[in-house]
C-alpha cells in the first residue's frame, strides 16, 4: 500500500507540464461587456453590417436568459463583466504570409508545446491554422488546399471573403438563441476556423487547429464552422493546451458542422487545458456547444474526443440526423483527476429514416474528481428504422471520486431500436495481479488496463492524435492505483 500511496502523492504533486506564459504584447479591450464592446470587436475585425447585427441580436437575447444550473458541476459564479472580450497579438494588421514571418516568440511557444509547426506540418501532411489567443496567425498549406477548392481560413477572414457562404450557414446548427453560452459566444466571438469543402472533394489532408489561451483574464470565444458539400469528405483535428493561470478562465466555444448529401465530417479533439492546481485553484472553465447537422441523405458526422484538461468541462457534441441513412458517431474518453469536474456526453436526434448512431463513452475518474455522462437519444416519429447503440463505461480510481450516468432515451417510433448499456467499476485486483505476476510493474499494468479500457475510442482517432492521446493518458494517471 505504501508504494501506492507514494505514487498517488507523486500524481497529486504533478505540475501542469505546459504551464508557461509567452510574453507578447497584447492589444486587449478593457474588461466588461455591453453593446459598445460588441461594436468595437466587430469594427476591429472590419466585419460587414450583417455580422454586427447578428452579434447584437445574440447579445440582446443573452441578456434575457439565465446561466444554466442543471449540470452536475459546482463553481463560483462567473462575473461576465470581469472578462476582457478581445485580445489579439500585436502584429494583427500585418499578417505573416509564411512561417518565416511569424513572430519567433510564437514559434517558440509551439516548440515548447511539442508542436514543431513547419516540420510537423510537412511530415504529417497537416495544414495548421494555429489560433493564438483570439486571432489566427499562421495558415499553412493554403495553396494545396485552394487547388482542391477547399476553403480553410480564419473565421474573421471568411466573414470578409465569403460572406454569402457564411450568411447561408452561420447559426443554422447552433442558433444564437440556443443556450446561454452559445448566445454569449455569438455576441462576442473573436475568431476561429472556417472550412468549406466543395462538392465531391475529398480534402487532401487532415485539417488541424491548435488553440491556446495565452492572455490572463481573457475569455476565449472561438467559433468554428465546417461545411461539407455534397459527396465531400473532411477530417478536422482540434487540440488544446493552455498556460498556467491562477484565475479561472472562461472558454465558451461554438462548433457548427454541416454535412450535405453523401458528405462526411470527422471531428477529433484532444483537449488538455490547464485543469487547475491540486487545490482546484485556477483552471479553465470549458463550456462548449458543439453540434453537427447531417442535412443530406447518407451523410455522416463523427465526433471523437479525448478530454483530459480543464477544471470544468461542460460539453455535449451532438448530431442532428436529418438525412435518410445518415450516421452519427460519438467516441469519447474523459479523464478527470484532482478536483476536476466534467459533465459531458452527446445528443443524437434521429429524424431521418434509417438513421443510425453509435455512442461509446469512457470515463476515468481519479482523486476527488466528479464526472458525469449525460446523453440524449431521441427518435422522432418519422425516423423509421432508426438505430442507436450506446455504451458508456466508467472506471473509478480512488475513494473520493465520483462517476455518474444520466442517459435519456426518448423513442417515438416503433421501428426504432435503441440500446444502452453502462458499467461502473474500478480496476480489479485480479487484473492487476495477473499483470504483476507476469513481471509488469504496477504502473505499467494500470496504464495497460486503462489503455485497453479506452481502446475502442483511440482507434477512431487519426494516427498522430492517437499516439498523443495515449501518452497524455499515461501521464494523467501516473501512479493513480485504486
Amino acid at each position: 500500500m505504501s508504494t501506492q500511496q507514494k505514487e498517488l502523492e507523486s500524481l497529486v504533486n504533478r505540475r501542469y507540464e505546459h504551464g508557461f506564459v509567452t510574453d507578447i504584447e497584447q492589444e486587449s479591450l478593457p474588461p466588461g461587456l455591453d453593446e459598445d464592446v460588441i461594436r468595437a470587436i466587430s469594427a476591429r475585425k472590419n466585419e460587414p453590417e450583417f455580422m454586427l447585427e447578428w452579434r447584437l441580436k445574440a447579445y440582446r437575447h443573452w441578456l434575457t436568459i439565465k446561466e444554466p444550473e442543471w449540470a452536475h458541476v459546482h463553481h463560483h459564479p462567473i462575473n461576465y463583466q470581469d472578462i476582457s472580450y478581445f485580445s489579439a497579438p500585436k502584429s494583427d494588421k500585418d499578417r505573416p504570409q509564411s512561417l518565416d514571418e511569424v513572430d519567433p516568440k510564437l514559434l517558440e511557444t509551439y516548440d515548447k508545446l511539442g508542436i514543431p509547426l513547419h516540420e510537423r506540418a510537412r511530415l504529417a501532411g497537416v495544414a495548421v491554422d494555429a489560433v493564438f489567443d483570439s486571432v489566427s496567425v499562421a495558415t499553412t498549406f493554403k495553396d494545396k488546399l485552394s487547388e482542391a477548392g477547399v476553403i480553410f481560413c480564419p473565421f474573421s477572414e471568411a466573414v470578409v471573403e465569403h460572406p454569402a457562404l457564411l450568411q447561408k450557414y452561420l447559426g443554422t446548427v447552433v442558433p444564437h438563441r440556443d443556450n446561454f453560452f452559445a448566445a454569449l459566444n455569438s455576441a462576442v466571438f473573436s475568431d476561429g476556423s472556417f472550412v468549406y469543402i466543395p462538392k465531391g472533394v475529398r480534402c487532401p489532408m487532415e485539417l488541424s487547429t491548435y488553440f491556446r489561451i495565452n492572455a490572463a483574464n481573457t475569455g476565449q470565444f472561438e467559433r468554428t464552422l465546417i461545411i461539407a458539400d455534397e459527396g465531400s469528405h473532411v477530417s478536422y483535428l482540434e487540440g488544446c493546451t493552455a498556460p498556467m493561470r491562477d484565475e479561472n478562465q472562461l472558454h465558451a466555444a461554438v462548433v457548427e458542422l454541416v454535412a450535405l448529401e453523401d458528405a462526411e465530417i470527422k471531428y477529433s479533439t484532444v483537449q488538455n487545458w490547464y485543469p487547475g492546481d491540486e487545490d482546484g485553484k485556477g483552471g479553465i472553465y470549458n463550456f462548449v456547444t458543439k453540434r453537427g447537422d447531417c442535412r443530406g441523405a447518407n451523410s455522416k458526422i463523427s465526433w471523437t474526443q479525448v478530454e483530459t484538461g480543464s477544471a470544468i468541462t461542460w460539453k455535449y457534441p451532438s448530431c442532428i440526423l436529418r438525412g435518410e441513412n445518415s450516421v452519427g458517431e460519438f467516441y469519447s474518453v474523459a479523464v478527470t483527476n484532482n478536483l476536476q469536474q466534467a459533465d459531458t456526453g452527446t445528443k443524437m436526434i434521429h429524424i431521418g429514416r434509417n438513421s443510425s448512431s453509435t455512442i461509446v463513452s469512457k470515463g476515468i475518474s481519479a482523486g476527488h474528481a466528479q464526472q458525469s455522462y449525460r446523453g440524449l437519444v431521441r427518435v422522432m416519429p418519422q425516423a423509421e428504422g432508426a438505430r442507436n447503440h450506446t455504451q458508456c463505461d466508467s472506471l473509478l480510481i480512488g475513494k473520493e471520486c465520483g462517476a455518474h450516468t444520466f442517459p435519456y432515451m426518448e423513442v417515438r417510433n416503433s421501428g426504432a431500436k435503441v440500446e444502452h448499456e453502462a458499467t461502473t467499476s474500478r480496476i480489479s485486483e485480479n487484473q492487476l495481479f495477473y499483470c504483476r505476476q507476469r513481471g509488469i510493474s504496477e504502473e505499467d499494468a494500470v496504464n495497460m488496463i486503462v489503455n485497453g479500457f479506452c481502446k475502442e475510442v483511440f482507434k477512431e482517432l487519426p494516427m498522430e492524435f492517437a499516439v498523443e492521446a495515449q501518452a497524455l493518458l499515461n501521464v494523467s494517471l501516473e501512479g493513480a492505483v485504486g
Binding site: W70, V379, P381, S394, L396, I397, G398, K399, E400, C401, G402, A403, H404, T405, F406, P407, Y408, M409, E410, V411, R412, N413, S414, G415, A416, K417, V418, E419, H420, E421, A422, T423, T424, S425, R426, G482
Partner: protein, 424 residues
Amino acid sequence: MTTQVIDKSLLDAAVKAMPDDRLAGLRREAADRFVSLGFPGTDHEDWKYTNLSDIEALSVAWLKGNPNLQPVSSVTDITDEVRSAIDAHWLLVRDGVADDMLPDIDGIEIERLVDADCSALSADDALSAFNVALLQDGLRIRVEPDAAPDRPLAILNIDSARQRVVQSRLVVELAAGARLELIECALSNGSGSQFTNSVVDVDLENAACLTHTRVQDRHPDHSGIYRLQASLARDANIRHSSFDFGGALSRNDVVTDIKGTGAAVGLNGLYLAGGEQHIDNHTSIIHGVGPATSDEEYRGILTGRAQCVFNGKVIVAEGADGTNSRQSNHNLLLSDRAEIDTKPELEIYADDVKCAHGATVGQLDHAALFYLQSRGLDRDQAKQILTRAFAAGMLSSLSVPACEDFVSARLDRRLAELVDDVDD
C-alpha cells in the same frame, strides 16, 4: 388554459372541515408544507415527462365543491372475485378508508391509522405532504420479531371513481427477523375520473424480509400516484414487484434506502399501456452503506398513443464499498404513436463497486414472427405469443406465488386488448 393552483385558503378550509381525530395535528403541519411546495411542474427534473396539471385541476374542483369524504359503500362483486382468486388474509380499503373488519393473525398487529398512535408520517415531498394534509385513514401493519404468517396478507384498495380525490396511506413495519408476503391490489368500482394519491412507508429492521406485490388495474379515467419508500437495516431484504395494467395516468415512485450492510433490494415491474395511457415509473435505490446488492428490472409494452416513462436511479454514497447493483429496462414499442422515455441513472461516489445498467427499446423480431407464421400461426397469434413471452419474463419474477394466477389472468386480458390495438 389557466393553471389551477391549490392555494392556502382552499386547502386550510378542507383540512379544517375534516374530523378532529388523532391525525388532525399532522394534517395541519403537512398542509403548510404542501402550500410552500405546490404540485411539481414539468420544469422539475423528476416530473419532466409527467404533467400533473389535470390532476391539480381535478383536485381544485373537488376542494372547491364541498369535498365529499364518504367512501364507496357496496363493493361485494369485486371483493368476491379477487378474494376467491388469491388465497390470503384480506384487508379492505375503500377510498382510502380501512374497513373495521381486521383479520386476527398471529404475530401481526394491524390497526387503522385513525386508531393508531402515529406521531409522524413521512411528508417530505409535495405529494406526500398533500397525502397527509387530506388523510382520512390508512393502515398500520407491524410484524413482531421473527414472526412469519402462514399466508400472505393482501390489501384490496377499491376506488369509487366519482370525481374525487383520495389519499391512501400504508405503514409497514417489520421487526428483526420478521417475514411478510404482502399483496396490494388497486381496482376501481365506478366510471368517473378520480385521483388517488397513495403513500406506503416501509421500515425493515435487521434481517427482516418483505416480498411485496402490487397490481394496479383501475378504470381508464383514473389517475394514480403511488409512492413506496423503504428503509432497510442490516441484512434486510425487500422484493417489490409492480404490475400496471389500467388507469389513465399512473406514476409510481419507489425509493429504497439501504442503511445496513448485507441488505438486498429487488425491484421488478411490468407496465402495459395502450390508448392514451401514461405510466411513469421512477425508482431510486440508495446504497448508503456497503456491501449490499440491488437488482432491478422493468419491462414495458406500449401500443396506441401511450406514453411510458422509466427513470431508474442508483446512488452509491461515499464509502459504500462492496456495492453490487444491476439495473435494466426493456421496452416493446408496438405503435408509431406511442412514446417511451427511459433514463437509467447512476450516481456513484465510491470506488469499490460493480454497477451496470442497460436499457433497450425495440419491437417484435421479424424473423421470430416469420418463424411462427411459417409454422401455421396467423400474424395476430404470432404477435400474441411473442408479446406474452416478453411479459412472461417479469411474471416469473413474481415474488408472491399466491397471486400468480390472478396476475397472469389480468395480464392476458390486457394483452389481448393491446395486441388488437397494434398497427402493422
